[in-house]
Amino acid sequence: MSLSKKSTVIVENLRKKQMRESISAGKRLDERGLDEIRPIEIELDVIKKANGSAWVKLGNTEVVAGIKVETGEPFEGLENSGALIITAEVLPIASPHVEPGPPDEETIELARVVDRGVRESEMLDLSKLVLVPGKIVYTIFVDCSIINVDGNLFDAASYAVVSALASCKLPVFEIKDDKVVETGRTQEPPITTIPVSITTVKIGDYLLSDPNTEEEACMDARLTITTNSKGSIVAMQKGLKGNFSVDEVKSIADKARIKGEEIRGKLKGLINVG
């Protein structure tokens, strides 16, 4: 059962009024332009025990993503593909509004949207991660721990997952006498494209990229669009009870392509992939 969202972050009416006035003048309360994305910092390989990892800061939002590679059975209906599992957890250290316990619907949506962007872009060529067709495949877990919340977890978690995946080293498994053995060698992951997620929110009649917590508390609707290296759209998710006009959706999609390309350049430079 899904209930209407109860507001946990409270923004005073006066502050809301201030925000609307500022936005209508083309400037946000944190001095950003309406389509300006906060600075992105990425540190790779922060978790040595993981096969790949990234600590991403998007403004004050911070996410650590770590990859663990195992072998297992393929998913049903995908017998000739490696298994990719992406999860996200908003840790209670991350904000005063997080309750410890099983993930709520927002966190599950977050994990699924991040997963969808990466999966649908076919960033990883999963057909190359099969050991015994139909029986044993590589299982790649990408787990995101959100450690500080300041809005736009969708994009921050997505950048963390993509950076960790693109920079990971996959262990090489082999089949010997019907058993899986780890060879101790590593291989580059089969990367085909770099998906980039761009989230835009609507506050009143205005569209803002990369919302922070305060802006998210005032937003009417949210749209996350993921594009691939070719500039095609590969995944979308509209959220909240507000709505968008067709023209708004088209302009958000255009912006997701342009901003996406900028961030893709930045990610590629950091991760060193072609």
Partner: protein, 245 residues
Amino acid sequence: MVQSRSLIDESGRRSDGRIIDELREVKINVGIIKNADGSALIEFGKNKIIAAVYGPREVHPKHMALSDRCVVRCRYHMSPFSTDTRKSPAPSRRETEISKVIREALEPALILEDYPRAAIDIFIEVLQADGGSRCAGISAASVALADAGINMRDMVSACAAGKVDDKIVIDINDTEDKEGGADMPVAYMPNLKKITLLQLDGELNPAEFNTCLDEAIRGCLKVYEIQRSSLIEKYFGKEKGLKEE
């Protein structure tokens, strides 16, 4: 416990190159979680652990509140990528027990009567585990509590000692924990000279037990110095901190 290979070589060096009374490298970074009232990142060898404190704040659900003192809630949790094989994100029985003993190790240092009807939440997240994560978690949480400005009687510093190849060593690492003879984590209030956490698995004879306890406390005192200087560095800057030392 199987001792399959020698964990201390002829020159007295352990599997990671340390001598028997040497601590792994410890670094504490105070205030790294911007949303939290107090926080600390501890790197204890390869352990990488964040502790964050929220509170004193309102208790939810309200019926859990105590009229004469503060409620302390503690969660110790390991990220799925923190261990050699992936750990399910759902809390395990081990994590539940460790959460409890950590809370009980920290509570004696907190002046809970100062905050009636309130709650203090302590969250410990293990990003990378390397043996001794409960001790590192306690030491980080204690710094985070001080960073949050919670009234405290003393710091809580924690370190394990144990038996490896029949020798008593301090600060057991992952390999020594799995292959060694005994592991005894201790948490200690260094100024009040009181023990607040004590666990043991493995076998120690009475003489070994006494040495082990003394060595663990020596380890706690070393950790205490690092906790202290990390707080001085945050609040008074590096230079002032050095002058005071």
